[in-house]
């Protein structure tokens, strides 16, 4: 057997022997260091802590070399501990980088959500402004439509509101029952009032001075109520209507001529667009 072969064999046997003896007393510090170093080395973010990982690898290599010569366990453990420490430092730095990335991502997403919400708010308020404009236009249109619709009914604009005067031809003499000739007018009034539920109407009955004042008062009340009933029967809300009898005390012309008395026998409908005005106007 040659000298070289002897060396190789002896080294091999020594290796086997040392391996056999090393297996039973596995050093925990070293094993832990190996695991930790391997873990950080295989991390996809290893580049962040490259210097610490290099330190860990150097210490681990030194520990591995020392582990082969079993005489210097303390030195080996020191190097293994240093390897583990460097690996842990690297690991914490990687965790920090990950957390910072999450913060950056989260902040960006938060910003995106905020911008979205702001855009939505703008859209919302634009839509609201549009709605308000449409509503305003629509209500203006309805006012217009009431005025145009009732234009041919001799609607008068007064400081009390729009006043429509129904002449006494709507009623039989001394009666409070509406004649069928009044129905067309009532239909149109009712449909106009149904469209504008916020509109209020004050119905006032008036008479001439023929007959007793009490009779005239009662008649004026009943006629006003007849108009009110006619309107509610046509679907107008009861709350939109106030009916009052004013008797003979508010003539619009002289009671000394037949024409004058005829104009004084009337039912007036006063349209307002708010409750307050109706309430204040309701009193005599």
């Amino acid at each position: 057997m040659s000298f070289n072969k002897q060396i190789i064999l002896s080294v091999a046997i020594a290796a086997v022997l040392s391996a056999c003896s090393a297996t039973p007393d596995r050093n925990e510090t070293l094993e832990r260091a190996r695991a930790l170093v391997q873990q950080v080395e295989s991390s996809p973010r290893a580049g962040i802590a490259a210097a610490d990982i290099a330190n860990a690898r150097n210490s681990l290599d030194a520990a591995n070399r020392l582990a082969e010569s079993k005489t210097r366990v303390a030195d080996m453990e020191l190097e293994a501990t240093n390897a583990a420490l460097s690996a842990q430092i690297a690991s914490e730095k990687i965790l920090t980088a990950e957390a910072n990335e999450a913060i950056a991502n989260g902040t960006a997403q938060r910003q995106a959500v905020l911008i979205q919400a702001r855009e939505r708010d703008v859209q919302k308020s634009t839509a609201q402004a549009g709605d308000a404009l449409r509503q305003a236009t629509a209500s203006q249109a309805r006012v217009d439509s009431l005025e145009t619709e009732l234009a041919d009914l001799k609607l008068k604009k007064t400081e009390r509101g729009l006043v429509l005067t129904l002449g006494d031809v709507m009623f039989d003499t001394g009666q409070s029952t509406l004649k069928p000739g009044a129905y067309a007018t009532l239909d149109r009034l009712a449909s106009a009032l149904r469209q504008q539920s916020e509109r209020k109407v004050l119905i006032e009955g008036h008479t001439d001075n023929v007959g007793s004042s009490d009779n005239n008062q009662g008649l004026s009340e009943r006629r006003a109520q007849s108009v009110q009933i006619g309107l509610t029967q046509r679907g107008v809300e009861r709350s939109q209507i106030t009916a009052l009898g004013k008797g003979e005390n508010f003539p619009i012309s002289g009671n000394d001529t037949a024409d004058g008395r005829q104009s004084n026998r009337r039912v007036e409908l006063i349209f307002t667009d708010g409750q307050t005005r109706t309430a204040s106007d309701a009193g005599p």
Partner: protein, 139 residues
């Protein structure tokens, strides 16, 4: 059977080769014992600086507190070794103290970064829920 006989005989010359540097090393160690070198003092001082910096960074934080204590212990060990003239041991302890101090700082930093990340994610989640609650009314 020859190799097995050769095997125990072979390391003998190896040992004799190692004997010389070992002997020199021992002499060097003995020489060191007489006085601590400036380098050792410097390294221990560096370890102590790392420890102080870590203490300042951590404050009362519990994250890394254990490692900070280890760093203190190692500095103490380094000083003891230095007092005994064991300059190599002193340097090793100082180096380890530095590693522990660094780990303490890394741990406290990663803990506070994770805390912040969790807060950001929680607030993002809340914001999302809120905006989802608001969005159907606008549609």
């Amino acid at each position: 059977m020859k190799p097995s006989v050769a095997a125990p005989r072979k390391p003998l010359p190896l040992r004799s080769v190692l004997a010389l540097p070992l002997g020199i090393g021992m002499l060097a160690l003995l020489g060191a014992c007489t006085g601590v070198s400036a380098v050792t003092k410097e390294r221990v001082a560096q370890g102590e600086t790392s420890l102080q910096q870590a203490q300042q960074t951590l404050g009362q934080s519990e994250h890394g507190a254990l490692e900070l204590q280890q760093a203190r212990d190692k500095i103490a060990a380094a000083k003891t070794a230095m007092a005994k003239g064991q300059h190599e041991q002193a340097e090793r302890m100082a180096a380890q103290a530095h590693l522990y101090a660094e780990l303490a700082v890394a741990k406290s930093q990663s803990a506070s970064a994770r805390n912040s990340a969790n807060e950001v994610l929680a607030s993002l989640e809340m914001l999302r829920r809120e905006s989802e609650r608001n969005s159907p009314t606008t549609r």
